[in-house]
């Protein structure tokens, strides 16, 4: 299966780029998962998590973003983020 070229850019520079099998993010109309061959899409990003699944499988790279947008066409995905923090979402405080 084909891979997608991912580029994640912030205002001050490129944050990450490379190939991925799948990318999921929180788009304007809910969670969106992008695989190779997805139709061209241009969407607003909502505050949430971006997950980039590497080609060979394994743990996804994660970023927490405040907003931005993503554009995908011909297997090239560009994600523009406002404020991104690498890493998993901090664990929700457990109720006692």
């Amino acid at each position: 299966m084909a891979d997608i070229e991912v580029e994640i850019v912030g205002a001050e520079g490129k944050l990450w780029s490379g190939s991925a099998r799948q990318v999921s993010a929180k788009a304007g109309e809910g969670e969106i998962g992008i695989l190779a061959g997805h139709e061209p899409v241009l969407s607003v990003l909502k505050p949430g998590e971006i997950r980039v699944f590497p080609v060979g499988g394994g743990q996804p790279e994660r970023w927490q973003v405040e907003g931005g947008f993503l554009s995908f066409d011909s297997n090239h995905l560009t994600i523009v983020v406002d404020d991104a923090v690498a890493g998993a979402r901090p664990a929700a405080p457990t109720a006692h």
Binding site: G13, G28, P40, V41, L42, V44, F69
Partner: protein, 297 residues
């Protein structure tokens, strides 16, 4: 005569210490310029992604947006002047201000009312000295502008553009900044940022490329709404970064020339001091000789 020699020696000493300062400033500018250029390069992917997305929306939908439509209800126009905080950069700030003044003159002739926004202490003090009012000013960090500063400026200008005519709204936004072409050429440049002319900015597609048919989520209007302010911010940030790189290049060149001039001065004063010393010796000898002659006769 001995007094003259001392004066020259003093001048040589002070010129030498000035030369050290100039040399230091040249080296500082030279070391920072690489970083400034790297920041320009680093910001390019963001700007490019935004431009592509904006042109994609523009070509695939006929949505109109306040930021792309001409305003006719007011004749006030905003002019943002980007200069440096400190001098010692040759004609850098002066030529940006001169370009801005020319633009303001043109706008006034066209029956518009320019409202000036300034970044950098040089522009702020220029307008303050002439008693002209600034609608907004930002100082500090002109040689390493941050995204936050750019956002602040963009927010202020977007607010002005969105404000009603009787509350200080403006119908256009022009930016005067110094474009960094290379290490020796930086030219003042004027761009009209608002209202946006998207049609001109669309990237032409290669022959074998077909413009992708995008799906917009949630809707073209919402996407445009999110894109355009970001686009403006990124454009302003790019302008600031270019200006910073130009400022450092101008400073490096100015300080290099200053160092060379100081060297010339030191050389000249050394010659004059030597001349004075010789003159003094000659005079002493002739005094002794003529004294001896007077006694002998």
């Amino acid at each position: 005569m001995a007094g003259q020699q001392r004066v020259y020696r003093q001048r040589i000493r002070s010129t030498q210490s000035l030369k050290k300062i100039f040399r230091a400033m040249e080296l500082i500018a030279a070391s920072r310029i690489g970083k400034a250029r790297a920041r320009v390069t680093a910001a390019t992917p963001y700007a490019r992604a935004l431009t592509r997305a904006v042109s994609a929306v523009a070509t695939h939908s006929n949505v109109s947006h306040p930021l792309v439509t001409e305003r006719t209800d007011t004749n006030r126009v905003a002019v943002l002047v980007v200069t440096s905080d400190r001098g010692m950069a040759g004609a850098y700030s002066a030529s940006a201000i001169r370009e801005a003044e020319r633009l303001i003159g043109r706008l006034t002739e066209a029956g518009k009312e320019p409202v000036v926004y300034a970044t950098g202490r040089r522009a702020v003090s220029y307008y303050a000295f002439r008693g002209r009012e600034l609608a907004g000013q930002w100082t500090g960090n002109s040689d390493a502008p941050s995204v936050e500063t750019a956002d602040e400026i963009a927010d202020a200008l977007l607010t002005a553009f969105g404000a009603p005519a009787d509350e200080g709204g403006v119908s256009e936004l022009h930016v005067v900044f110094t474009q960094f072409k290379n290490m020796v050429t930086q030219t003042p440049h004027v761009i009209r940022l608002l209202p946006l002319e998207i049609v001109d900015g669309v990237e032409p597609l290669a022959d074998d490329e077909i413009a992708p048919l995008y799906e917009f989520e949630p809707s073209p209007e919402d996407v445009l709404d999110a894109l355009l302010p970001r686009y403006i911010r990124s454009r302003i940030y790019t302008c600031l970064l270019q200006a910073a790189a130009s400022e450092l290049a101008a400073r490096q060149r100015a300080m290099h020339t200053a160092t060379e001039n100081a060297e010339d001065l030191v050389r000249m004063y050394t010659r004059l001091a030597n001349q004075a010393r010789q003159a003094e010796i000659t005079q002493e000898i002739s005094e002794i000789v003529s004294g001896a002659d007077a006694l002998a006769s």
